[in-house]
């Protein structure tokens, strides 16, 4: 009876039991946090946007640092991605930050392929992680994760609508990376224009089916602030590393003859909102989404492309061993087949060539057989001629002999006649 009950328990899952005192496992989150702090964090941002939209300045402003780099020219032949990694530390937290910039984006006359190098870059990072994950001896724990966690898409502050390049690019990227669209250099737009601009952008994104990153609302502690912020997307930002004295404080600002735009003034722009959402509240969620959603999608597609399946045709699940062995056998079979095919081809060629040469040989022999026959015929003719000559000779000889004989006879007779005649004459 006891055994049965235990078996039942195992099948059901966990049963809740009360605790009679303080056990102490409520320190688990702290244990986990301590480990991550010791290990250090890593975060990778991709900035996509046309040259001159203030991408580098915004990064500097966000992270309160002057990152290296010269402003790029507009004459790039294609889009290249430049990545820089920095070790930042704030209180006891170490962050390995990688900032990737799209150089030359939007500068070409024909921008059809602009998105390609970006997609390739993102995929390459997924691929590197996948390769590491699939290794037999792997070190995932110390692997430097280069996958892009957040893509800040810089929209030009035209005030009207998204450019078709923007829509095309974002559509290509939305299933690969968390896209956070921002309106760059938004101090060029007035407040009323900005509201309209945001609505236009949002509706264009929706109508084109572009999935941008939504700040998560499933965790009660941050659900409220996240959902409020979601309604402010896209954030209209201004970046500046210059400081201006306002009152008795030095603030980051841009000074115009008609006034000063304060970066961290929420009435002036959404910079603070961006920083809050991107860094202070949802950085970890961005990493998690990248790993559990975008990377998993990439991985699944890649494995399916290579022919890996989870179940065999009868829908029974494959074990890893079976999958690998099946793959390997298929692969080896393919190679062997290719080898066989090549061999067969050669055998075929050899046969054909042999037949060809045999034909040639046969022709040659036939030719000479013909010549030989001709020769025989000639010879025969010659023999006949010889024979006829010989016959003629014989005939002639006979004739000659016969004639001589006659002549002799005649001569004898004629001799007597002649003699007679001579005698006569003599008389």
């Amino acid at each position: 009876a006891a055994e049965m009950r235990i078996a039942k328990m195992e099948g059901e899952g966990a049963r809740a039991v009360p605790l009679a005192g303080h056990v102490g496992f409520d320190s688990m989150p702290d244990q986990l946090v301590n480990k991550s702090v010791n290990h250090g964090f890593c975060f990778n941002i991709l900035c996509v946007g046309e040259t001159g939209l203030g991408k580098s300045t915004l990064m500097d402003t966000l992270f309160n640092t002057k990152f290296e780099g010269e402003p790029t020219q507009h004459n790039q032949p294609g889009v290249t991605l430049k990545s820089n990694t920095y070790e930042l530390q704030e209180s006891n937290v170490r962050l390995k930050l990688t900032v990737v910039n799209t150089v030359g984006f939007g500068d070409q006359i024909n921008k059809e392929d602009s998105y390609k190098s970006i997609v390739e870059f993102i995929d390459a990072q997924f691929e590197a992680y996948l390769q590491e994950e699939l290794k037999i001896k792997r070190t995932l724990h110390s692997y430097h994760d280069t996958r892009i966690h957040a893509c800040l898409y810089f929209i030009a502050p035209t005030g009207h609508s998204l450019k078709s390049l923007d829509l095309v690019t974002m559509k290509k990227l939305d299933s690969k990376v968390n896209i956070i669209p921002i309106i760059a250099k938004s101090d060029a737009i007035s407040k009323s224009e900005l509201a309209k601009f945001k609505i236009k952008i949002t509706s264009e994104l929706v109508s084109n089916g572009v999935q941008i990153y939504q700040f998560p609302t499933d965790d009660e502690s941050v659900a409220e602030i996240n959902s409020t912020m979601n309604s402010h997307l896209p954030f209209a930002v201004v970046g500046s590393t210059e400081e201006v004295k306002i009152g008795n404080k030095m603030v980051k600002a841009r000074q115009y003859p008609w006034g000063t735009v304060q970066v961290e003034n929420e009435n002036h722009c959404d910079f603070v909102k961006l920083r809050e959402m991107l860094i202070r509240v949802n950085m970890e969620d961005l990493r998690e989404q990248t790993h559990t959603r975008h990377y998993e999608l990439y991985r699944r597609c890649k494995l399916e492309e290579m022919g890996f399946k989870d179940t065999d045709p009868d829908s029974k699940p494959f074990s890893l061993q079976e999958t690998y062995e099946a793959k390997r056998n298929e692969f080896m079979g393919e190679l062997q087949k290719k080898e066989e095919e090549m061999r067969q081809m050669f055998v075929q060629r050899v046969k054909e060539k042999e037949a060809e040469l045999k034909e040639a040989e046969k022709e040659l022999h036939e030719k000479f057989d013909r010549l030989k026959k001709l020769h025989q015929d000639e010879k025969k003719k010659l023999e006949e001629k010889k024979k006829s000559l010989d016959d003629e000779l014989n005939t002639f000889k006979q004739k000659k002999t016969a004639a001589e004989l006659l002549q002799n006879q005649a001569q004898q007779a004629g001799g007597s006649t002649t003699l007679k005649r001579d005698k006569e004459r003599k008389k």
């Binding site: 006891a2 328990m9 966990a14 049963r15 809740a16 039991v17 605790l19 009679a20 102490g24 496992f25 409520d26 244990q31 986990l32 480990k35 991550s36 010791n38 966000l62 992270f63 309160n64 640092t65 820089n84 990694t85 920095y86 070790e87 930042l88 530390q89 704030e90 209180s91 937290v93 962050l95 590491e132 699939l134 037999i136 001896k137 499933d218 965790d219 202070r280 970890e284 969620d285 699944r300 890996f308 399946k309 890893l320 690998y324 062995e325 793959k327 390997r328 190679l335 090549m342 050669f346 040469l357 040659l364 010549l371 030989k372 010659l382 010889k386 000559l389 002639f396 004639a403 004629g414």
Partner: protein
């Protein structure tokens, strides 16, 4: 390329970027996710395993309704698990206790560790399969994170079974040996016993779970103190007794109360603090990064390097099997190219040979034919000459004959004439 930039401003002051808040984000998410832990207890019956578990987790995990392993008498060693959900301070823990009723209780205990090894491996296998699927859902971690091994308090040393078990499991799971029912040993006996056990553990090169050093010196001092107490000698109790006005868990003897949570009576609090309060996460990490990776790499190496000789496989372990197949494919392509080139060469050579032979044969036949022709021509010429001579002779003779004939004719004509003239009588 990487230089360190310190933004060491404090919160809520100017210049604060905010990624120092990352740990809080991690904290928040982990609480939401909840935690899992699988603890295995192994030891002969009657060593107080169930009581210790109940004491550790301050709950009746094992009770009349759910009896502990020693109450479930088995003919052979079984491996059974109980899952409980416990909550504390907003933190939820799914605790799985794996026990092994029947372990070490038979007369012949050979291979009684095998079911344990099989269980641990099967959990690793489950995780490996889940991890390797094309469609991966959430992967529940049912791998065994820690194995508490109960040593009977004989006071002498380890039994052969103890040694055998620990040797076989130390590279598969975190093994923490405990001296059970430590209240049967005096402190001095306990000290000696511990020393003896550690000596034997070292002799047999058994790798028990090691506490990692931290960067904090104070923590390291504590850790060193704990290390000196290994193996921990524990006492468990389900009973709460009043001692000096305090309610404590303990075992009541005529001569006094052995308090479970009194550091001078036993090492229970050390164990609890270490296992639950400070090193639970590390036990999971070591299981994941060391024991599981060992299992995985052995398993995958066996699968993908089937039939290939080991001298080649050493370098291949650092590649993913897919990359390895790619490389094999490339190698094969090169091999095929080489083979193709060789076959092509042989083919060309043979064709050349054959063609040459044919040519020679043609030349020979040509030559013979020429010769025969010339021969024939010579004969013809000869014949021509012979005929010419003959014709000449014949012509001469015939001419001669004609003259003779003419003469004869003339003669006979003259005779006729003469006859007519009457000259002839």
């Amino acid at each position: 390329m990487i230089k360190l930039i310190i933004i060491s401003h404090q919160r809520n002051l100017e210049g604060y970027v905010g990624f120092a808040n990352l740990p809080n984000q991690v904290y928040r998410k982990s609480v939401k996710r909840g935690f899992e832990f699988t603890l295995m207890v192994v030891g002969e019956s009657g060593l107080g395993k169930s009581t210790l578990i109940n004491s550790l987790f301050l709950t009746d995990l094992y009770s009349k309704d759910y009896p502990g392993p020693s109450q479930r008498i088995k003919k052979t060693v079984q491996v059974e698990q109980s899952k409980v959900l416990i909550k504390e301070g907003g933190v939820q823990l799914t605790l799985t206790i794996v026990d092994t009723p029947g372990f070490g209780d038979a007369v012949d205990n050979s291979n009684c560790w095998q079911p344990v090894i099989n269980y641990i491996d099967s959990k690793c296998e489950d995780f490996l399969n889940a991890e390797s699927r094309v469609n991966r859902r959430s992967m529940p971690d049912n791998r065994v994170h820690c194995c508490l091994y109960f040593i009977a308090p004989s006071g002498h040393g380890l039994k052969p079974l103890d040694i055998e078990f620990m040797k076989r499991l130390h590279d598969k799971v975190n093994v923490i040996p405990l001296i059970a029912k430590a209240d049967t040993l005096t402190p001095e006996e306990c000290q000696l016993f511990k020393k003896q056990i550690m000596k034997e553990i070292q002799e047999h090169k058994i790798k028990i779970y090691e506490f990692p050093d931290t960067e904090d010196d104070d923590d390291n001092k504590l850790i060193r103190k704990i290390k000196e107490k290994m193996p921990l000698a524990v006492v468990g109790s389900n009973v709460v007794i009043e001692v000096n006005g305090k309610k404590v868990r303990g075992r009541q003897y005529p001569w006094g109360v052995a308090e479970v949570e009194n550091g001078e009576h036993c090492d229970f609090t050390v164990l609890r603090n270490m296992l639950i309060r400070t090193h639970m996460q590390d036990l999971k990490d070591v299981t994941n990064n060391v024991h599981y990776e060992n299992y995985r790499s052995k398993k995958l190496a066996a699968v993908t390097c089937n039939g290939v000789d080991t001298s080649k496989t050493k370098g291949q372990l650092t590649k993913s099997p897919l990359a390895q197949m790619e490389e094999e494919r490339r190698e094969h392509v090169m091999k095929m190219k080489k083979m193709e080139a060789e076959m092509e060469q042989v083919f060309e050579m043979k064709v050349k040979e054959k063609k040459q032979k044919l040519k020679d044969s043609e030349a020979e036949l040509e030559r013979r034919h020429e010769q025969m022709k010339r021969n024939l021509e010579a004969q013809y010429k000869e014949l021509e000459e012979k005929r010419r001579v003959f014709e000449e002779e014949k012509a001469n003779w015939e001419a001669q004959q004609r003259i003779l004939e003419q003469q004869k004719l003339d003669a006979s004509k003259t005779m006729e004439k003469n006859k007519k003239k009457g000259k002839i009588f």
